[in-house]
């Protein structure tokens, strides 16, 4: 656990509500922070994860029309004038609507201008499958941005990481995409009762969630929790799994994974989303290319199926890798 837990008083809170808490703490810390999106203000957000901010911060929190391209563009423009905008895109799937603004404007502005400006924009999006929202409201869209240099990508999987990473994202001078997993909204955790910088989680640092000897399982968000479940099941058979949550996809903390592999020599990556073009394949390619000699067994990707996210429960459930599938793959690998 890389988060430094100090002795400060803490409070219980869930993953959904900690979003408003992190936003509030940054809005309070830095008057340059502003926040815009659809129904984020008066209504407190489609998921009620931004409740109370409008009342507390007034004009610095703004409801927008349904105009995702204008939302991202306006955030970039405001950033160029010295603000630190946080933009909400309600569901990550809608990133498609403003993809140009994200990849061609936000990601490239600084580079194209030869470094003349900083573009400290944070884009928050509700991410992922498992809640029955159907093909256009369930995609793990973090995989759409890996090939676009210029965007940091964070994928918090716990309440503490959501709090610490969202605050770090807002403080970062680069564009950061924050993916908030819808299916973790009810997850419980603890954050400091008062804003406390000791709880910031640095962007780019993986978390070794569980230590083990036989295999390294790398997983984020929902899959992190399923990997832990799988590790429990495996423990019963005498196999110990090390579970790593990278927490940030760009920049990726390869060092922590490599360190683990020196011990385990076996890599399993569990990724929500279709296999091709995702961070899982990227990680496996990277390890295979640069650390081939560490591997005693085929590095293995467990991913969703190469089809859209189906609506109906039996199909959607099957689309998402589960703990027993992860455990089965690991058992095969340790016997390789």
């Amino acid at each position: 656990m890389t988060t430094t837990m100090t002795a400060a008083a803490t409070v219980d809170i869930n993953y959904r509500k900690v979003i408003a808490r992190a936003l509030a703490d940054e809005l309070a810390t830095d008057t340059k922070v502003v926040f815009l999106g659809e129904d984020v203000g008066a209504a407190g957000g489609a998921f009620k994860s931004t409740e109370g901010l409008k009342q507390r911060f007034g004009d610095r929190v703004r409801d927008t029309p349904i105009s995702e391209q204008a939302i991202i563009g306006a955030a970039v423009g405001a950033a160029l004038m010295g603000l630190r905008p946080v933009a909400e895109i309600m569901f990550a799937d809608f990133a498609g609507v403003c993809f140009d603004q994200l990849v061609n404007t936000l990601a490239k502005y600084r580079y194209t201008s030869g470094g003349q400006a900083r573009v400290p924009v944070t884009v928050r999006m509700a991410n992922g499958a498992g809640a029955g929202f159907g093909p256009q409201h369930s995609q793990p869209a973090e995989n759409w941005f890996l090939n676009i240099p210029g965007l940091k990508i964070v994928v918090p999987g716990t309440v503490e990481d959501m709090y610490g990473l969202l605050r770090s994202a807002i403080r970062d001078d680069n564009p950061v995409l924050v993916f908030e997993h819808k299916n973790l909204f009810a997850l419980k955790g603890r954050v400091p009762a008062e804003p406390d910088d000791a709880y910031l989680v640095p962007i780019g640092e993986a978390d070794v969630v569980r230590t083990g000897q036989d295999v390294t399982i790398v997983a984020t968000q929902q899959m992190r929790h399923r990997a832990l479940e799988a590790a429990d099941q495996l423990a019963a058979t005498g196999v110990t799994a090390e579970v790593i949550d990278p927490r940030t996809l760009v920049p990726f903390d390869l060092k922590t994974v490599v360190q683990s592999l020196r011990k385990t020599s076996r890599l399993v990556v569990v990724q929500e989303g279709p296999p091709d073009g995702g961070w899982g394949a990227t990680l496996i390619a990277s390890i295979s290319s640069h650390h081939f000699e560490l591997l005693d067994a085929p590095p293995t990707l467990i991913a969703s199926d190469p089809v859209p996210v189906p609506y109906s429960t039996p199909m959607e459930d099957a689309w998402l890798p589960d703990a027993s599938r992860i455990a089965a793959v690991v058992l095969q690998l340790v016997r390789f």
Partner: protein, 325 residues
């Protein structure tokens, strides 16, 4: 805003429209109940209060014409003739649902009746209907396309691109703007620089008609004139139907943002009541109207029962329907 001539609808025709509206109402009441009982996951967006728009517009269409609509699309798809049971089935995620359970509540589609689908991305479907109308123009079929969307959708880029393209190519499209005063929760004046949405038609070289969206006859008349225009090659029309969403935006919305009395005012002008008043004036007895409503409800209930009894898809069905092999 062009004037609309009303009273073109016969008693039988209006009774048929009322029947459809009653079915849609009963359908949505059941869906609402199912959601509150967690029989359906994800989100749902109900159509109670807007029935006159879907029924009025689709009543002016003929076989071969098409529609597209939004996540709030149960009413439109049903109005066009999709089967009640398989529509319920899709919302329940059943194998026998309209889309085999792949789409769900936000994605009802029945191409056999011309319902090209419900789209869950605001504004994404407007260009689809433009494309269908382009095909009609190229193939000379005379078919028109109607596309339904909300007041909130009028601020997204695709609205602009779709209306301009249909306008410059003079395509047979009915742009049906269902102005129910709110996006999800935001009142239109907080999101729209000029809330006189019907006036936007001029920018796209097409006529704009604003109609009482709770009066199925007024909607029908506007649609009929727009359809005639479209079929004769004169191009698209923007119809702004003023209406009201009687439920909240979605399951989780208590709709607290409504000013006091607003809902009540609109309930007094419920589309089913407005149509009943008209039918009354045409000499239809209250008893007949009550029977019509009761019959519709019973029919819808039976369809719901059937859908509930159907099996779920098998997990392996998820691999089907992506590719044409």
């Amino acid at each position: 805003m062009t004037a609309v001539q009303t009273e073109t609808v016969t008693r039988d025709r209006l009774l048929e429209m009322q029947r459809r509206m009653c079915e849609i109402r009963a359908f949505e009441d059941i869906v609402k109940d199912w959601f509150s009982r967690a029989l359906v996951r994800g989100s749902t967006h109900l159509y109670q209060g807007q029935e006159a728009v879907a029924v009025g517009i689709t009543s002016a269409l003929r076989r071969g014409d098409t529609t597209t609509c939004t996540y709030r699309g149960h009413g439109t798809v049903l109005a066009q003739g999709a089967p009640l049971d398989r529509s319920f089935g899709e919302i329940l995620g059943k194998a026998n649902g309209l889309c085999g359970g792949k789409g769900g509540s936000m994605h009802l589609a029945d191409l056999s009746v011309g319902a090209l689908g419900s789209f869950a991305i605001v504004g994404a479907h407007l260009p689809i209907s433009v494309g269908a109308a382009w095909a009609s123009q190229l193939l000379g079929t005379g078919a028109v396309s109607a596309t339904f969307f909300g007041d909130g959708a009028a601020n997204i880029g695709t609205f602009h691109e779709a209306l301009n393209l249909a306008g410059v190519w003079k395509l047979p499209v009915l742009f049906v703007l269902e102005n129910n005063l709110y996006g999800e929760y935001s009142p239109i004046t907080t999101t729209t620089a000029n809330p006189e949405l019907v006036d936007r038609a001029a920018a796209y070289g097409m006529p704009g008609l604003r109609v009482d969206g709770n009066d199925v006859v007024a909607v029908f008349d506007a649609a009929a004139s727009a359809v005639a225009r479209g079929r004769s090659g004169q191009g698209p029309t923007l119809i702004e139907a003023m209406t009201y969403r009687q439920s909240g935006h979605s399951r989780s919305d208590p709709a607290k943002y409504r000013p006091a009395g607003e809902l009540e005012g609109w309930l007094a002008r419920d589309p089913l009541t407005v149509a009943e008043r008209r039918l009354h004036d045409m000499g239809v007895e209250t008893a007949e109207l009550d029977r019509l409503r009761a019959d519709a409800e019973a029919k819808v209930r039976r369809a719901a029962e059937r859908a509930l009894s159907w099996p779920e898809p098998r997990p392996e069905d998820r691999f089907e329907d992506l590719w044409v092999h």
